[in-house]
C-alpha cells in the first residue's frame, strides 16, 4: 500500500506537468498544497476513478477563471470564446482524464492493473472531496503564474472492504 501511494503521488506530479506541457503549452511549478484562492466565479473539480489492482479517485481542483484559461489554451481559442457551460466542463473532464490515464498507464505497467471511469465534473464554492476512513489521501499543489491548481488522489486501503 505504502509503495502504491508514493508511486501514485510521484506519477500524478509527473502527469500534471506532462499534460500541461503537451496539451496546453504551459509550464507548471510544483508548490506546497494550500487552499485555492477565492474565485468569485467558483471552483471546479474534474475527477476520474480507477478500479482494480488499485482503487481510488484522482481529482483536479481549479478556480473557474483558471479553468477558462486552460480551456482556451487546450482548444486554441480566445478566452472570450470559451463557453461557460459544456465546453468548460468537457475540457476540465478531459484534462482529468489525461492525467489519470497517464498515471494508470504507468501503474498498470507496474502490475497494478486497473480500469478508468468516465470523467465527471463538479462546480461550486469551497469544494472538497470527502472519503471514508479507509482511504489514504495525497494532495499536490501546482502554480502557473498567479494561478493555482491542486491534484488530489484518494486511494482505497487494500485491507478495507469498501471505498
Amino acid at each position: 500500500m505504502a509503495w502504491q501511494i508514493e508511486k501514485i503521488e510521484q506519477l500524478t506530479g509527473e502527469a500534471v506537468e506532462e499534460v500541461f506541457r503537451s496539451m496546453l503549452s504551459m509550464e507548471v511549478q510544483a508548490e506546497a498544497p494550500a487552499p485555492l484562492p477565492d474565485d468569485p466565479a467558483g471552483q471546479m473539480i474534474g475527477s476520474v476513478g480507477f478500479i482494480g489492482g488499485t482503487t481510488g479517485i484522482l481529482c483536479l481542483f481549479a478556480g473557474v477563471g483558471f479553468a477558462r484559461l486552460l480551456t482556451s489554451r487546450m482548444l486554441g481559442i480566445p478566452l472570450s470564446e470559451v463557453d461557460e457551460g459544456d465546453m468548460l466542463n468537457d475540457a476540465v473532464g478531459e484534462l482529468s482524464n489525461m492525467v489519470a490515464g497517464h498515471v494508470k498507464s504507468r501503474l498498470c505497467d507496474g502490475d497494478a492493473s486497473c480500469t478508468l471511469t468516465i470523467p465527471s465534473v463538479v462546480r461550486g464554492q469551497q469544494l472538497r472531496v470527502e472519503g471514508p476512513a479507509q482511504v489514504t489521501r495525497r494532495v499536490l499543489g501546482f502554480r502557473h503564474g498567479q494561478d493555482h491548481l491542486l491534484a488530489e488522489v484518494l486511494i482505497k486501503d487494500s485491507s478495507a472492504k469498501k471505498l
Partner: protein, 374 residues
C-alpha cells in the same frame, strides 16, 4: 474529392482539437460522440479514416473496433486509436484488433497531423478557394523582443500601412496574445533570453489554434550561424537588425502571400499598365517581377496586346529601374505585346544612355502612349 475522417470521441474538447488540427487540410471531418453513433456515421459516410477514442460510454472503442472488423463494408477502414491509457495491456489488446496506429493523450496537434498523414494523403486546402489578403487589408503583426525600441521602429516603419503592430517582451506574454487575438504573423527576436524565440515557436506549433501561424526570426545582420539555425528550425524567414522597414514590409508580403499586384498593375481596354512607384526599391522590384508574367498572360488571355510602362513617378532611371523595365519589355515581347514607356523628358534622357532602350517608344503621358500604340 475531399478525404473523409471520422472522429469518434465522447469528449467534445478532443473532437474540437481534431477538427482544428485538420482544418488546414483538404478533408471533411465527421464527428460522433459515442461508439453507436460512430458506427452509424461510418456505415453511412464510408470514411477514409476513423480516429477512435478508447474509453467512451455507451460503447467503448474496443467494441466499436470489433464491430468494424466484422462488417464487410467497413472491415478495411483504417483506424487510429486515441487513448489516454498507454498501458501495455491496453496497447496489446487494441493492436490485436488491427488498428493502423494509436495516439496517446496528451498529444500535440502536429503529432496528430503527422500520424493521420501516414495513413491518408493529407493535402493543404486549396488556397484559391480562400480569399487572399491584400496589402491594404488590416494585418495584425506581433513583435516579440525584450528591447521596446525594436517594436517602435517596426511600428513607425509600417505607419503608412493599415497593419497593426502589437508587442510583447517575453514569450509567455506573446503566447497569450496569440491565443487572445487574431494575429497574422509573429516577429520574434533570436536574442530573447533562454532561447525564448525557440520556446515560443515550439509552443505556437504545439497549439491547434496557432500551429500554422507564420513566425519570422529577427537577428543581427551579421549573425549568420544564428540565422541558419532558425531557418533549420522552421522559422518562415529572417528579418535583420538594424530594422529596415522596406525589408520588413517585403518579408511580410511574401510570408503572408499578400496580394500586391494591384499596386503596380492596372488593366483596362486591352492595355496592361505597369506603374512603378516613387519609392522604388529592391522589394518593389521583387514584387513586380513575381506578378509580371501572370499579369501579362492575363491581358493576353483577355484579348489585349499592349503594355504601357509608367515611369512617371520614379525619381531617376537608376540601374534597378532600367533592369526591371528591360525585364518587362522582354517578357512582353515573348507574348508579342506592343509597348511604350511613359516618363518625363529627364527620365527619357537617362534611359537613352542604356543601349537596350534605343528602340523604345517614349511618351509624355498615358494618352500619348496610347496614341503611339494605335
Amino acid at each position: 474529392m475531399s478525404i473523409k475522417i471520422l472522429t469518434v470521441d465522447d469528449s467534445k474538447t478532443i473532437r474540437l482539437i481534431v477538427a482544428k488540427a485538420l482544418k488546414p487540410f483538404d478533408c471533411k471531418v465527421l464527428e460522433a460522440d459515442n461508439g453507436v453513433v460512430g458506427l452509424a456515421v461510418a456505415s453511412r459516410e464510408k470514411p477514409d479514416l476513423i480516429l477512435l477514442d478508447y474509453t467512451m460510454p455507451v460503447m467503448d472503442g474496443f467494441e466499436v473496433l470489433a464491430r468494424l472488423r466484422s462488417d464487410g463494408d467497413l472491415r478495411g477502414t483504417p483506424v487510429i486509436m486515441l487513448t489516454a491509457e498507454a498501458a501495455r495491456e491496453t496497447v496489446v489488446k487494441i493492436a490485436k484488433q488491427g488498428v493502423r496506429d494509436y495516439l496517446i493523450k496528451p498529444f500535440k496537434a502536429e503529432m496528430l497531423v503527422e500520424r493521420v498523414g501516414r495513413v491518408v494523403d493529407l493535402r493543404a486546402r486549396n488556397a484559391a478557394t480562400e480569399k487572399r489578403k491584400r496589402f491594404d487589408d488590416p494585418i495584425s503583426i506581433l513583435v516579440v523582443d525584450d528591447k521596446p525600441a525594436i517594436a517602435e521602429q517596426i511600428r513607425a516603419g509600417l505607419a503608412d500601412t493599415p497593419w497593426q503592430v502589437s508587442s510583447a517582451d517575453q514569450p509567455g506574454h506573446a503566447l497569450d496574445i496569440c491565443m487572445e487575438k487574431e494575429v497574422d504573423l509573429v516577429l520574434a527576436s533570436l536574442s530573447l533570453p533562454n532561447e525564448g524565440a525557440y520556446t515560443l515557436f515550439q509552443n505556437l506549433r504545439g497549439c491547434a489554434g496557432t500551429a500554422s501561424l507564420p513566425v519570422l526570426a529577427m537577428s543581427v545582420r551579421t549573425a549568420a550561424a544564428e540565422q541558419a539555425r532558425a531557418q533549420q528550425a522552421g522559422f518562415a524567414g529572417i528579418v535583420t537588425k538594424p530594422i529596415d522597414a522596406d525589408d520588413v514590409r517585403a518579408r511580410v508580403c511574401r510570408t503572408l502571400n499578400l496580394e500586391t499586384s494591384y499596386k503596380y498593375f492596372q488593366q483596362r481596354d486591352g492595355i496592361l499598365a505597369l506603374i512603378l512607384p516613387k519609392d522604388f526599391n529592391a522589394g518593389v522590384a521583387q514584387e513586380v517581377t513575381t506578378h509580371l508574367e501572370p499579369q501579362l498572360a492575363g491581358i493576353v488571355d483577355a484579348g489585349g496586346n499592349k503594355l504601357i510602362i509608367d515611369l512617371g513617378s520614379v525619381e531617376a532611371a537608376s540601374l534597378p529601374v532600367i533592369e526591371l523595365a528591360i525585364f518587362a519589355v522582354r517578357a512582353a515581347a515573348k507574348l508579342s505585346l506592343r509597348f511604350a514607356v511613359v516618363c518625363s523628358d529627364a527620365i527619357k534622357e537617362q534611359c537613352r544612355s542604356y543601349e537596350d532602350t534605343q528602340s523604345w517608344l517614349f511618351a509624355g503621358s498615358f494618352e500619348q502612349a496610347l496614341a503611339l500604340l494605335k
